[in-house]
Symmetry: C2
Subunit: 201 residues, 2 copies
């Protein structure tokens, strides 16, 4: 902990995160990141072996906080399962109305690096989405839903669709529409075939 200078590395990642998210990966130079972090490019290259490495660190740092935020929104919402999922979309719509909001960093990065299939940043993004899907699937399974994986993927599709559409149209109300669709799909899954053990937590 003392030698590998953790605070410096963290400050670099923080600067990279702000710039990459708001300007895009290829638009931002390594010099800009170093300047924003208050040090030289050469120092940055001491902590990261390449720009690609820095991009990967940028997304890796966003993984856990992002998931925690979704879990908090879910947990703090009143009501049953559909209401709790809908709350995620409602909170997301609130975030998306801020002018600095630029969509999902994971999706935007993978869109920008789509020509480099094996890029570490894309793998980190895919793992992030998979974790979210797994969390939803587990949650649905605990409610006795018959095909929790399918429902989890449908919610994920609506969520990522929201990110894409709202980024293009700059109209956050699409996220509330997505929330309604999620509610409808959950209710269908709850009432149609399987047994259910109760809808309140």
């Amino acid at each position: 902990m003392p030698r590998p200078s953790e605070p410096t590395r963290a400050r670099i990642v923080q600067a990279a995160s702000a710039l990459f998210y708001s300007e895009g990966i290829r638009r931002v130079s390594v010099d800009e990141v170093a300047a924003k972090a208050g040090l030289t490019k050469r120092t940055l290259y001491y902590h990261f072996k390449s720009k690609d490495d820095l991009v990967a660190a940028y997304l890796a740092a966003r993984d856990q906080p992002n998931l925690a935020l979704f879990r908090t929104w879910f947990a703090e919402a009143e009501g049953g399962m559909p209401a709790k999922v809908e709350a995620i979309f409602r909170n997301l719509a609130r975030s998306a109305r801020h002018p600095k909001w630029k969509g999902c960093g994971f999706l935007r990065t993978s869109a920008e690096l789509a020509n480099m299939p094996g890029h570490p940043a894309i793998r980190i993004g895919a793992a992030h989405k998979k974790k979210f899907e797994d969390w939803l699937r587990t949650t649905f399974a605990e409610q006795g839903i018959v095909d929790p994986l399918k429902l989890a993927r449908q919610i994920l599709l609506l969520l990522d669709g929201s990110f894409a559409v709202v980024l293009l149209h700059r109209d956050a109300s699409y996220m509330e529409t997505a929330g309604e669709a999620a509610r409808a799909l959950i209710e269908t899954a709850l009432t149609k075939p399987g047994r259910k053990r109760g809808s309140r937590k």
Copy 2:
């Protein structure tokens, strides 16, 4: 028509389209586009006033063919309304399995240029998605669905969610999951509240 040299311009747009789609906007230089089109950069700048202008032309050229493709998939599918919409997702999944597939050019471009809100290419992308939404809304309205706009937007969210998720995970089966979700939402809208006039065209 004779003087403004339409074929040359079209050849440039074709070259730009291939490169921008497969490599990304900022990754591809104007020189590369000119070389692929078989002419000099200076000639390219005679036909387009800037790279941004070229990017806009790239997306504008994809607008009508893309919509026509969706309409064809819809029209040629057997069965009622849900089956016809599901056919779009099924055909999309088939396209997405080709290794050269790189998602939706409109979404990827707007993700890459998210830091330039008023960019002409983003406006063209937004107009494209709006046209698709309008077409769906009109089609649903003809079926007597009570809130055709809401349903059209929900389908759009699933479609764009498919583009995003499949690009990240490289697993086209998500598109079939999205098709199932679309079917469920359409059936809910058809049977729940409104009057319906028949489900076959």
